[in-house]
């Protein structure tokens, strides 16, 4: 990797990259570079939402394809990271849309080997673990905590979930409280 990618500030970087790269590089390249950079973090969140590594990978890729479309429409995206989280979030929320939009691609990739070794059954078990570990949390609280754990600011989280930054702090605090109570019980 090049030295100037050492800035661990996805926001500034994404902006700058988009600006400098768009002049010389195709949108495809810009999007691919961003994908390489942000994939791990988005993947974790998507995995949390879907409970399956394969779906998570898929969702993240679709989000980036949407980003590609968006950039091609010359739309201005101020905060690409936030935008991508929102895209992943709403994609997961309406899985029906995912299926429709992606049916074509799914078709060709249908006999593709799974991205990881784990089977659907194991995915399910894992999903149950999440369920158990976090089952006392409300959906909002869980989403806030997960997004915060990925390093998003309150404002960014608020944008993804369409709530205010102040509410984010309330959800986070409540989420942690409930989580701690559950955690104590499990001991």
């Amino acid at each position: 990797m090049e030295e100037d990618q050492a800035l661990p500030l996805p926001r500034a970087l994404a902006l700058e990259e988009a600006n400098t790269r768009r002049s010389g590089q195709s949108t495809e390249e810009v999007v691919t570079a961003l994908y390489e950079q942000l994939r791990p973090s988005l993947f974790s969140y998507a995995y949390h939402l879907t409970g399956s590594a394969r779906d998570a990978e898929d969702l993240v890729q679709i989000a980036f394809l949407q980003l590609f479309d968006q950039l091609n429409r010359r739309s201005d995206i101020r905060n690409m990271r936030g935008w991508l989280y929102r895209a992943v979030h709403s994609l997961a929320a309406s899985s029906a849309r995912v299926a429709r939009r992606d049916s074509l691609i799914r078709e060709w990739f249908s006999d593709l080997e799974p991205l990881d070794e784990r089977t659907a059954e194991e995915d399910l078990m894992r999903a149950e673990e999440i369920e158990q570990a976090l089952n006392l949390l409300g959906t909002r609280e869980r989403h806030c905590l997960m997004l915060r754990a990925e390093g998003l600011s309150y404002q960014e989280i608020g944008d993804v979930l369409e709530i205010s930054a102040k509410s984010v702090s309330v959800y986070l605090a409540r989420g942690l409280k409930k989580f701690e109570a559950q955690h104590e019980d499990n001991k």
Binding site: A6, Y35, Q61, W108, A173, L176
Partner: protein, 640 residues
């Protein structure tokens, strides 16, 4: 959070949970943060709540780690997959349709509607005519349009299939292709033979076993898949014009989409223009007509694809020379991925000289040999060593496509004196670009090209077991501002300051890349070689150096201009003098590279986020500014 009190009673207002987490996350306003800090100092109650909160965060992170997949699948494969998906997304008509839909649903279009409506009301006749015209156009144009697009789509899907299913790393792809020549007048067919290819995904070597109808078997190993080209022993079965074209396209008789692309590359039409699709049972036939009276005598080629999964099934080449019409039909008889067992791997370890024989077309006379299983062992003695002239030419070609800037492309000499170009590049396109640039020297037996993409390298690395695992550390950014941040913030917003820093660093890096390129060019030849370099080659070498010096000066000057308003220190004269010989040039470049690296370090430490403590003081010293100017001066001197 309310921070006001009536001023009389210093009764502290306790912090609630939301305040505490916001405090920990640095999300409070400055006043609130300050209040919270003072309060926490004095209030045990709140402090213990804060510690509990901190503890909860840690517990949460631990559980989160457990519920996340044990390891995120490695990026290499995912990125490669994504590239393809994006490529298809960008090229298939889905996007086209989507874009059209988006356009139709945009506000601008709706704004136009009211203007239309009165028109429609009063000019029904005109509207009807227009509508008919539109319908007619759609009826007439659409089938053509969709056919063309479908050809693109079909190729893209076949590409995707091939990429995903036929080159999985670590295994060997074994395919058998039967070649027939069919006389279309008499409808008689003749078996020419069959070729079994073993593609090694690990080393990119290909082992060939060609059996002619006569029973003669040729075995050989080509060490570089890209060098697999030419009709070889089948040349005699083709009309010379056709064979000439096929060899010129570096086509090799095999059934893959990538080799089919070579076949149609110069057919006289752009892309998939004029291509059409027919279907026969479970097979799609993608026809690519050649331009009328194409020099090769080829009238059309057809790619046959499995209609269910787009796997390539066969390739047909139709030719017409005078009254003679032939079809050369390549049919894939079998395809499988076999494990790379030691026995299989042995196929690829044949000596280098064997590989060379694949590049020199085997003369048809060899076919007279009747050994039932002759092993091709023709050796080609390599012509001495690569000249320094050739080396300069390779460097120049690389420079033309900008492959001498920071990318890991290297030109080195092997022990035998051959030139070896090794490269690690980001994308397939880039790889193709570099190989294309080098095409004029790639056939030279003393030049070896080994350019691979990151994805390929990752695939190889994975095999050797040195793959690094990916870990996610979302929260572990120690600092989030760079040393010069405070200075910039005096005149800029947060966003501006960060963008400024990113710009400066990338500018400085751009300058550095040219400095590195200069250094590499300098290190390429010893003084003895330089002395004996023919004048033309020497001039070429000098002009490469000047180009980089010019680019360096440009980048460095604009970096200086960017920094000047915020950190500028006046004074300092630039270097003077003239360069009269190679020795001075080498010294000047050495100086330039040293200065450039130290300047680069200063910029980097001031504008990037590091965990080590760094300061901006260096950037304000007269030495730094002097050094910036001196470097520019030297760069200018080199150009003269």
């Amino acid at each position: 959070m309310k921070t006001t009190n009536d001023g009389r009673t210093p009764v502290p207002r306790h912090l609630d949970d939301a305040d505490l987490i916001s405090y920990l996350d640095g999300e409070l306003s400055r006043d609130e943060q300050e209040y919270a800090r003072t309060h926490l100092e004095s209030c045990w109650n709140c402090r213990s709540k804060l510690l509990a909160m901190q503890n909860s965060i840690e517990n949460f992170l631990r559980v989160r780690k457990q519920v996340l997949p044990p390891e995120i699948p490695p990026s290499g494969a995912a990125v490669a997959q994504f590239r393809w998906r994006l490529f298809q997304h960008a090229s298939v008509p889905v996007t086209l349709r989507l874009r059209l839909t988006t356009w139709l649903s945009t506000a601008r279009w709706r704004e136009l509607l009211p203007d239309f409506i009165p028109l429609l009301r009063y000019r029904k006749a005109a509207f009807a005519t227009a509508l008919t015209a539109v319908v007619l156009m759609v009826v007439l144009v659409d089938p053509l349009h969709w056919n063309r697009v479908s050809a693109d789509e079909l190729m893209a899907r076949a590409d995707a299939y091939e990429f995903l299913h036929e080159s999985p790393s670590g295994r060997v792809a074994r395919a058998t292709v039967v070649i027939q020549k069919i006389n279309l007048e008499t409808n008689t067919e003749k078996q020419l033979g069959h070729i079994e290819t073993d593609d090694d995904s690990l080393s990119s070597a290909v082992h060939l076993e060609t059996e002619l109808a006569s029973g003669v078997v040729y075995k050989m190993t080509v060490h570089d898949r890209d060098k697999l080209s030419g009709l070889g022993v089948f040349s005699g079965d083709f009309d010379p014009a056709t064979a000439g074209y096929l060899n010129a396209q570096s086509w090799f008789p095999r059934v893959t989409v990538s080799s089919y692309r070579r076949l149609i590359a110069d057919r006289g039409f752009k892309g998939n223009d004029g291509a059409f699709i027919t279907q026969e049972g479970e097979t799609y036939q993608l026809h690519h007509p050649f331009v009328n009276k194409h020099a090769s005598g080829i009238t059309e080629t057809v790619l046959l694809l499995n209609a269910r999964n787009y796997a390539p099934r066969g390739v047909s080449i139709f030719t017409k020379h005078g009254d003679e019409q032939f079809e050369y039909r390549l049919t894939r008889k079998s395809f499988k991925l076999v494990e790379r067992t030691p026995e299989v791997a042995q196929l690829f370890t044949a000596s280098e000289t064997l590989a060379r024989s694949a590049e020199t077309p085997v003369s048809t006379d060899n076919r007279a040999i009747t050994d039932a299983a002759k092993t091709e062992t023709a050796t080609v003695t390599p012509p001495a060593v690569a000249s320094a002239e050739l080396e300069v030419e390779v460097l120049r070609l690389l420079s033309e496509v900008g492959a001498d800037l920071g990318e890991q492309v290297e030109v080195a000499r092997t022990n035998e004196g051959r030139l070896r170009v090794t490269g690690l590049v980001e994308t397939e396109q880039r790889k193709a670009e570099i190989l294309r640039a080098l095409s004029s020297v790639s056939s030279n037996p003393v030049v070896r090209l080994d350019v691979q993409t990151v994805a390929e390298a990752v695939a190889r690395q994975k095999q050797t077991g040195s793959e690094r695992s990916t870990t996610i550390e979302g929260m572990e950014v120690a600092a989030d501002t760079f040393p010069a941040y405070a200075d910039l913030r005096r005149t800029m917003s947060d966003e501006e300051a960060r963008v400024f820093a990113a710009r400066v660093v990338s500018r400085s890096h751009a300058a550095m890349r040219h400095a590195w390129a200069l250094k590499r060019l300098m290190g390429q030849f010893s003084r003895e070689v330089l002395r004996t370099l023919p004048p033309e080659a020497h001039a070429k070498w000098i002009s490469l150096i000047k180009n980089h010096a010019r680019a360096f000066e440009r980048e460095s000057a604009s970096l200086r201009q960017q920094l000047q308003p915020v950190f500028g220190v006046g004074g300092g004269a630039s270097a003077t003098g003239e360069i009269t010989n190679d020795a001075e040039l080498i010294r000047a470049v050495g100086q330039l590279v040293d200065l450039a690296s130290s300047n680069y370090e200063v910029v980097r430490s001031a504008f990037t986020i590091t965990n080590q403590s760094a300061s901006t003081s260096a950037i304000r010293t007269p030495q730094f500014w002097q050094s910036l100017r001196t470097a520019e001066g030297i760069a200018a001197k080199i150009q003269n």
